[in-house]
Symmetry: C2
Subunit: 428 residues, 2 copies
């Protein structure tokens, strides 16, 4: 049976545990496949999604109707909506993952030690990955595909808004795997939106889940970090800063700031705070303000910024820690590079921060002293993206400190083991 159906509510624990066991079995089977088998499976999945477009669109129409009835706002409905072009985009995304280099089995390092042992560090899958995410149905396909590319079994837990669309997508993906003789349990979708299911998943399902990847808003990520009994590769919010240094090229400063904030305001790499060096604030802030407002951005300034541009709304304390994901930008005038570094150390979520300057020494110090996953010099924060990094698809941008930071692509969904080749060595 390839289509998963919801369990009776009393059986949630048993259902999840069974999913965990099947995921483990699938991950063992995946481990014995070669890169070509995984590529074949991914291409079959892309074809299967195309073939199932009518069912996927019908399911999405039901999600959209339920979303409208529930009063979802226009932005959320847009993220949820699928049409033929978007389904084709999802299939193309899976094909792009199929075209990525396979990360499994790569020799990451190899050396010989004085005892004569030959030691190799070789990439292997993480195992079973639980992915908990919100609304957008394309994440279902992206996450499943990235896990398969990296030899991992995926247990997906989608948001309730996209549950019908995700179920149709996963059914198509599993059908395609099964038809190719590949383990269809490599991609499973939790068949209930009951929150209890998330709790079971976070418990690790008696050791069957190796890693949890939460992808969503702050409350989801915080719940996961609090309750998970297995490792988490966390994706906190993107509270990204653009610092315009005294030695900035004004044209670059304006173009980058407007792009960083306004190209797309709803992504985690969008800038949320602009820091302007006091040394050039008087000359540059009016120009920056004008360009941002012309692009439709609301500005909220600190006292120093409002002294220069009095029309600006006054920023409150919480503006420095708010991920607007909207055309709003907090603006502070800071005391040079040190002031910018101190502001970022206090408020950044460790995601992505940029400096605009022609002073190489200032850029070097910004790179050394700011501790975020991604630092940019003279480029827009909106480049914080696995595709723009040349990593193909990504499952998100990790803001934690261990295992993976920044874009999490197929390579980041691996671990390694040591293969030690001897000739009879015993340890003295």
């Amino acid at each position: 049976m390839t289509v998963q159906t919801p369990p009776p509510s009393a059986d949630i624990a048993e259902t999840l545990l069974d999913m965990g066991r099947r995921a483990r079995a699938a991950s063992r089977a995946l481990g014995k496949l070669g890169a070509k088998d995984r590529t074949r499976g991914l291409n079959a999945i892309a074809a299967g999604i195309r073939a199932a477009a009518p069912e996927i669109l019908a399911a999405n129409a039901d999600d959209m109707a339920a979303g409208r009835a529930k009063g979802l706002d226009a932005a959320m409905l847009d993220r949820l909506a699928l049409d033929e072009a978007r389904v084709e985009g999802i299939a193309k995304g899976v094909e792009a993952v199929a075209a990525l280099p396979d990360p499994i089995g790569r020799e990451l390092a190899r050396w010989t030690v004085p005892s004569g042992l030959d030691i190799a560090r070789v990439a292997v899958p993480l195992g079973v990955i639980g992915i908990i995410y919100e609304s957008r149905p394309n994440v279902t396909a992206d996450a499943g595909a990235l896990c398969l590319r990296s030899g991992n079994a995926a247990i997906l837990r989608c948001g309730s808004e996209s549950a019908r669309s995700s179920r149709a997508l996963v059914a198509a993906m599993r059908l395609a795997l099964g038809a190719e003789g590949l383990p269809e349990d490599a991609i499973q979708l939790v068949p209930t939106q009951d929150r209890e299911a998330v709790g079971h998943l976070l418990s690790g399902l008696e050791g069957q889940v190796d890693v949890i990847v939460p992808r969503g808003g702050r409350s989801l990520v915080e719940r996961v970090q609090m309750d998970a009994r297995v490792p988490v590769i966390g994706h906190l919010e993107g509270l990204c800063h653009v610092y315009v240094d005294g030695a900035a090229d004004p044209d670059k400063a304006v173009a980058i700031t407007v792009n960083a904030k306004m190209r797309r305001t709803g992504i985690c790499g969008a800038a949320e705070t602009l820091l302007v060096d006091a040394a050039i604030a008087e000359s540059l802030l009016p120009e920056l303000t004008e360009a941002l407002e012309a692009a439709g951005c609301e500005l909220r300034g600190d006292a120093l910024a409002r002294a220069i541009v009095p029309a600006m709304v006054a920023a409150r304390e919480e503006d420095w820690s708010t991920e607007y994901l909207a055309p709003i930008l907090a603006v502070a005038v800071v005391d040079g590079l040190d002031g910018a570094i101190a502001h970022i150390a206090r408020w950044s979520s460790g995601h992505t921060d940029a400096i605009i300057t022609e002073d190489q020494a200032a850029a070097d110090r910004f790179f050394a002293d700011v501790d975020s996953a991604i630092l940019l010099h003279n480029a827009s924060t909106q480049f914080a993206d696995g595709g723009e990094f040349g990593m193909g698809a990504e499952i998100g941008i990790a803001t934690g400190r261990i295992h993976a930071r920044g874009p999490v692509g197929a390579e980041q969904l691996t671990t390694y083991k040591y293969l030690v080749r001897g000739t009879g060595q015993v340890r003295p």
Copy 2:
């Protein structure tokens, strides 16, 4: 003040939080130091430990007296005991860490993408590391030194048996750092053995702790994994297997098995289970048994093993999951390579497992299908050690799947950030 004194018990939460804040400040200061400063600090620590030998030995004598009064067994007392030679060994260990390549700032990868952005992945410290460990006082110096080498601030929580020795060691280490003008709060010791303190540390101290490294027995590691609200680099037990394949060279099989079990029985890389291929069990098991028993090892066999060597004690189910850390070995006769792989998949702790065979195809399949941090072909499991891997000192052998597996040395105590150099790029 460089010597830390215990707090009034009511103030444990505040004391720990203050330690966390001071560790964070020290980690920021460490981040601005260069490799030469860290090396200078490490050499000063080694000298400081030598100079403080009388105080350290006096404190250790008190620990030993308390340990005897508490009824610690001879093996535990031996692990706890220091003398001048052992203190010199601890100092030399710190000098060995000083001689290691500094892992911070290394460019791990660098590439250019079509947008023209130049992307570099650069190693940075994890930040603040909480290390929770048991009895042996040398861990105090090793862990503090490895954290300093990798630019991390350490909050150490030692076992109660070695508390006085550890306090004297940490006092010497902090004094040495302070005298060199380096941040002495880079190495702090929790000044109370109250278990409540561990709870606070595991909570992450309001975001001041980035990673917890537990190093100790199963109950410690399980408590840490259950209660930690921050990432854990876990070191579970070493339930290591030696599989003697039908195509094994009998001399290598005997020498490696005896060494893997008996060289030192109390370390995590010691073998706990011997698996013998049924194809050669009848000819080889008596010889293996004789050699192991001659070395002082007790054997506990399954029914098939006892059919060949009837004098063997009968193994019970729990023998397959017991880390003896003693001269006892569980023995099972398995149905060839597949039987060995199945036994290991069921019982291994994912630490270290070895195959003895002259059949390259069997070794290759063992390497592919067994999923442990370290796999060895024709070599003793006792090589599972950072020093033997050429990594210098280690803080333990990680058995988890994320961030680091196998020996955790200075390089494994780092993470990375991306430095992206642009020329004004905005994202289309």
